[in-house]
């Protein structure tokens, strides 16, 4: 018989081992689906790997794909640290994309345009996140529900915009007009899509880590998340900290939208995000809410997404496998987290 016994302490190497364990379990579990689809498991994972990490171009594509998920992963990690349950990174990303696209369409010098796009996108994301945060602080509305439902509101508002007043008159498709060419983010490597936003994402992770670990705001976020009562008695303005956290989280998610507009699509369309906001939750959980862990976690999911398309073409396994892997990875991580609090012990059976 196997039983769980409470742990008194958690070894440090768990932080690294648990995500790897979760990923390993995910790949094993999902191999059943590959077999069901009639493909060879080794071959399918092989194609996935080579298409996402096999050569330098594939790697740049994975990096580009990881960028929005680094931002949304950071957004979720920051929010969850304060136990502000921001499930709304998707909507905040879309709001950031719309705002930055609107600013980028105004003719002005390139660097200025890019700066203003980032500011506008961050502000729009923050404004959206402010809604569930205010509802929670003022009226005790559940933030999971309000931030989640707001995603649909924003998505359909975006659809209404690009089907209606903001429709690109030149192409006639339900897409927004493009941003100015001068506002396109510079490409770092000729012949790839590796844009400035990728660098920004990789810089954002250590910055956010520093903020959480080394500033008084970060301290307050951590304390409010772990014990709001002790925070209040300790003279911390809990509501103010929650609002600050929401603004920061929303701004980061908004930046994910900025990167997609400025570096990848140059305009807004309805499928600008294939759920990067939701993937951010998986990323943050795999990273155990550590901003530095967000980068490798986002790279993993990006590799799965890029690889899944190639695998689908080569083996006929539907690309939806990528979504299954994401979902399974989240569940596997949640299960793995159990081992931080409990150890498994084999015992004899009761007589």
């Amino acid at each position: 018989m196997i039983r769980l016994e409470a742990r008194t302490s958690t070894p440090g190497w768990f932080n690294l081992a648990l995500p790897l364990l979760a990923i390993g379990a995910t790949l094993v579990l999902c191999s059943g689906l590959i077999a069901l689809a009639g493909a060879g498991i080794v071959e399918a994972y092989g194609v996935m790997f080579s298409a996402s990490l096999g050569d330098s171009y594939a790697i740049t594509e994975t990096l580009v794909r990881a960028t929005p998920m680094i931002f949304t992963g950071l957004a979720v990690a920051v929010a969850f640290r304060a136990k502000f349950w921001n499930i709304g990174a998707e909507g905040q990303l879309l709001a950031g994309a719309v705002a930055s696209c609107a600013v980028g369409a105004i003719p002005m010098p390139g660097p200025l345009a890019m700066l203003l796009m980032a500011l506008a996108g961050a502000a729009a994301g923050a404004a959206v996140a402010l809604v569930p945060a205010t509802l929670r602080v003022k009226f005790r509305v559940d933030d999971v529900v309000s931030s989640l439902l707001l995603n649909s509101v924003i998505f359909y508002a975006l659809m209404a915009l690009i089907e209606g007043p903001w429709k690109d008159s030149f192409s006639g498709y339900p897409i927004s007009p493009p941003i100015e060419d001068s506002a396109n983010f510079p490409v770092l490597l000729e012949g790839t899509r590796l844009h400035l936003g990728v660098v920004a994402a990789f810089l954002a992770a250590p910055v956010i880590w520093f903020l959480i670990a080394r500033t008084t705001l970060g301290f307050r976020i951590r304390v409010v998340g772990e014990n709001p009562e002790a925070a209040r008695y300790g003279g911390i303005h809990v509501e103010r900290v929650l609002i600050s956290t929401a603004l920061l989280s929303g701004a980061l998610a908004g930046l994910a939208g900025v990167g997609e507009v400025g570096g990848v699509h140059f305009q807004v369309m309805s499928d600008i995000s294939p759920g990067y906001g939701y993937s951010g939750i998986v990323v943050a959980m795999l990273a155990r809410l550590n901003p530095l862990g967000v980068v490798p976690a986002a790279l993993f999911l990006a590799a799965v997404m890029t690889g899944a398309e190639a695998m689908s073409r080569a083996t006929g396994v539907p690309a939806f496998l990528s979504d299954v892997i994401q979902g399974t990875a989240l569940l596997a991580m949640l299960v793995a987290l159990l081992f931080t609090a409990y150890r498994v012990r084999r015992v004899g059976t009761a007589r």
Partner: protein, 503 residues
Amino acid sequence: MPAPLIEMRGISKSFGAVMANEAVDLSVAPGEILGLLGENGAGKTTLMNVLFGAYAPDAGEILVQGRPVTINSSADALAVGIGMVHQHFHLAPRLSVLENLLIGIPGKSGRIDRAGGLARLNEIGRQHGLTLDPDLPVTALSIGEQQRLEIVKALFRGARLLILDEPTAVLAPTEVDGLFSALRSMAAQGLGIIFISHKLNEVRALTHRCVVLRHGRVTGRVDTPASTTSSEMARLMCGHEIVPPARGPSTPGEAVLTLDGISTSRHSGMALRDVSLSVRAGEILGIAGVSGNGQRALAEVISGIRAPDAGQMTIAGKMVARFSPREVQALGLGRIPEDRMTTGLVTNLPLADSMVLPRIGTGAFSRNGLLRPDAIRAFAEAQIKAYDIRCPGPMTRAGALSGGNLQKALLARELAFDPKVLIVSQPTRGLDIGAARFIHEKFLAMRAKGCGLVVLGEDLEELLMLSDRIAVMYEGRIVRTLDSADATIARLGLMMTGAEGHS
């Protein structure tokens, strides 16, 4: 002598390098109340968790009525007639008393046997005086009633041996009497009881026999607790004599805290009604009262958590203009909270974080919004050393420390900043004698240094020992303030029930 109900032989259990229990022998006979004594960390809870199936012992065996058994879970424990009432209750708050009893009890053909449950509940209530309204939700029960429900739950499941882990720590003195008479009635009907407590007078009054643990081993057995002195038992627990600290004379100075006509609305619990008091430098003011008579509101107002609706407060001669924890702290108030785990510290973060929490924004621990990790660490390390806080280091999760060490940490974080006035609620609740003694000494040392202290509590012996004056609270008012020379436990006890009003 009847055969033992349960017997533990040579039980050992270690966690890593720590031996929590080493070759412990223990037995309980039917009808016997066994006291299990020991300081925090002596291994009492671990031993009981082994008996109740939460931990598997590394060595040793457990016998129930002479037959060896293996207990791997609480279900196994219940199956052999062992029930446990934990310090923290395991109840479903939104379900009723009866529903809580029936959780996990298989009914007939998939249906819950409410009528049968009700009959059993009434029978148990009649037998031991443990009456409960079956339809009330747990949220509507007082702490004492919730504990009663836990006891009934164990009996309902057929427990022949009941383990109670510090049951009196959460009870008011009047509730303790009710618990004791129920336990005596259960023993009289042949049940065995293991009673874990720090409070020696309770152990002496209730138990038939005691086992004393120290560092995981049995260091003493007392066959006649009633006729053994408390200091003798304390010596067995600590390994040395415990002498209560003497409160020397002091010459109180200026008033450091005054409340004038403070009233609050009924927000949660009892409201304050026109409370006035003053504490002078070098003086300890005890505030006695059955809990729930406004102590919580009083502590919240003084700590700046809640603004009063009427009245004024001064700290060190300055009027408190805005009631906030930061404001009163800046004026020189220190605070040791009643509930260490919920309002004091952050159990999931490093101990150092909890130790700097109230002053994180000050220059001592941060500058321009940036933390000073070295200063934080150095502060925590210095306090850990100065107060002999037992832990691996400042980065240890606060929740991993024992209650006594947490209380020392909270004391250290306040005293390090030389407060002019210190407000303390239930300072030694749940602490063992050694730790309590340490806390008392620190309070008296603060008094000698000219700090004014307000000590709220229900432990009258402690209040009498510490206080220069004692105010009695009843229904949100201070009914009377006595010099402690004029106060006796009997007199205070009477005043706490409202019997001796303004006179």
